[in-house]
């Protein structure tokens, strides 16, 4: 559980990136933090594992204030997957890469072996166990980075812009992976500006603008409110664009999912034929 109260953060160069953010993320929730570049999304999530400490206000993760403990100990609980996997990969083999964090966190040898196997299986990387991560493709390297974080089984998973540079299939796999994490009871937080991806997942959405939260609620509702979106420079998802224009004909406005759209349209068309 993440509790943030009136969080303010000012960078050393004077820029005030967070101007009073308050929120609660409960265990097992799936939250998408959205907003323009510079709105403060990444700054906010970097507080969840203590990489940044508040200038004012408090943040507690599972009851512990982040100012009272180290990044390493907070990371044990909240795994952060950075946007660019090349900022993390440095080992000679994928196996060693995954073992890195496990060793840092003090896992025993036998456990490390088991965890590596488990993580590799989960992400379809078993055949690359002894391969150098630098020889893998972009998408594969992203999976190695993800595996290296999952290996230590954190309760909270933070993904920073996980859809950038991914093709359609990779995004679909990512979506299913997040669902899988949720069924395991993990709390998943993603920072993204990919509206189409979010509309396929329909998570809780936190919309940020200039260091504050301007909207907090069900994805469906927030992503179909044009006034809120244009203020934060977010584009309406495609399906929502269509239903916005069809609203005068008696259609609901808060539709973002393709399959739901199909059902609604079919019903209406059949009604009209009668």
């Amino acid at each position: 559980m993440i509790e943030v109260e009136d969080l303010h953060f000012r960078y050393p160069n004077g820029v005030e990136a967070l101007k009073g953010v308050s929120l609660v993320i409960k265990r097992g929730e799936f939250v998408a933090i959205m907003g323009q570049n510079g709105a403060g999304k990444t700054t906010l999530v970097k507080h969840f594992n203590g990489l940044l400490k508040p200038s004012k206000g408090t943040i507690r993760v599972d009851g512990v204030a982040t100012t009272e403990t180290s990044v390493a100990s907070l990371s044990r609980n909240a795994g952060f997957v950075f946007q660019n996997p090349d900022h993390q990969l440095f080992s000679e083999t994928v196996e060693e890469e995954i073992a890195f964090a496990l060793k840092n966190f003090g896992f025993k040898e036998e456990t490390i072996e088991k965890r590596i196997t488990w993580a590799l299986n989960l992400l379809g990387l078993s055949k690359y166990r002894k391969t150098s991560p630098f020889l893998l493709s972009g998408g594969e390297r992203k999976r190695v980075a993800l595996a290296s974080v999952l290996a230590w089984d954190p309760e909270i998973l933070i993904l920073d812009e996980p859809t950038i540079g991914q093709d359609h299939q990779q995004k679909e796999k990512l979506r299913q992976f997040i669902i899988q994490m949720q069924t395991q009871g993990k709390t998943v937080v993603i920072v993204t500006h990919d509206v189409e991806f979010v509309s396929e997942c329909n998570p809780r959405v936190l919309l940020m603008k200039e260091g504050v939260i301007v909207a907090d609620g069900e994805g469906k509702k927030i992503l179909t409110t044009p006034e809120v979106l244009t203020k934060s420079s977010i584009v309406l998802p495609q399906i929502a664009q269509v239903f916005m224009k069809l609203a005068p004909l008696g259609f609901p406005k808060d539709v973002i999912d393709v399959y739901e759209a199909k059902e609604i349209l079919l019903r209406k068309l059949q009604e009209m034929r009668k």
């Binding site: 795994g79 890195f100 974080v149 230590w152």
Partner: protein
């Protein structure tokens, strides 16, 4: 890092900033020569005071002072080494002349630092790059210089991101003895180096795609032209040199200790 602070550029528009970097560099060289020429305190003190009006005109006092503070440690070191050497070589006696001499050596070092500091503080890297391009320096070097400066902030940010990413995997940079700490930096250095290599490859591709190497006679969007201010600076510089050489040869310089 505070010594480097004095070398960091700020984009201000002042008459000093607008001076041609080549003229400014000539001034620095002249100050260099004059500083080496004199070994006595009084002329060195004069040389020390000389750039101060320029500093104020350019509005870079704060950064300039910071660079001097950064040099203070080294300056103190030079002072004590000089003092100690004269102490030990003169049968353990400490004379006023020895103190003054050490102070002079220290001041010489300070004069050099301050001249370079003023130069870098009042010259934007692009001006510097332009100056390099327009002198006989081969274009590859000027290009390497400006590109390096261009990417310094990018690399610095990347280094910070990499450190954050590894800290988020449990890496504790501050823990352990000296050997362990050095080893701790391997997970930071390797991604940084790999990223730099990848970046160079992408840059090379972009350069090739924009006709790099098409002709030996490369032209330039801008031209540095000398204005009145530059000629004024040149005159001052020449003046300093002439006066310095004259004083050095003909004028006996008193030492402070003579007055004691």
């Amino acid at each position: 890092m505070s010594v480097f602070d004095g070398l960091k550029f700020r984009r201000i528009k002042s008459p000093i900033h607008n001076l041609d970097p080549r003229m400014k560099f000539v001034y620095v060289c002249a100050a260099f020569v004059a500083a080496i020429l004199f070994g006595k305190l009084i002329p060195l003190f004069v040389l020390f005071l000389l750039p101060i009006p320029f500093v104020f005109l350019a509005g870079v006092q704060k950064e300039w002072l910071r660079s001097l503070r950064g040099a203070a440690f080294l300056a103190g070191f030079i002072f004590f080494v000089n003092l100690a050497s004269s102490f030990f070589t003169s049968n353990y006696t400490l004379t006023a002349a020895a103190v003054e001499n050490s102070a002079a050596m220290t001041l010489r070092f300070v004069v050099l630092v301050e001249s370079f500091s003023v130069f870098f503080l009042t010259t934007s890297p692009d001006h510097l790059g332009l100056a390099l391009e327009q002198t006989k320096v081969p274009y590859e070097f000027a290009f390497a210089f400006t590109t390096a400066v261009r990417f310094v902030p990018v690399l610095a940010e990347e280094a910070q991101t990499i450190m954050d990413a590894q800290k988020a995997r449990g890496l504790e940079l501050e823990k352990g003895g000296i050997l362990k700490r050095i080893r701790n930096y391997v997970p930071v250095l390797i991604p940084l180096i790999v990223s730099a290599i990848r970046r160079s490859l992408e840059l090379a591709e972009a350069m090739e795609s924009r006709a790099w190497g098409a002709t030996e006679k490369r032209t330039n969007l801008f031209a540095l032209r000398l204005h009145r201010g530059d000629f004024a600076l040149l005159a001052i510089t020449v003046g300093i040199l002439v006066v310095s050489i004259y004083v050095y040869i003909y004028v006996p310089i008193p030492t402070l200790s003579q007055f004691m």
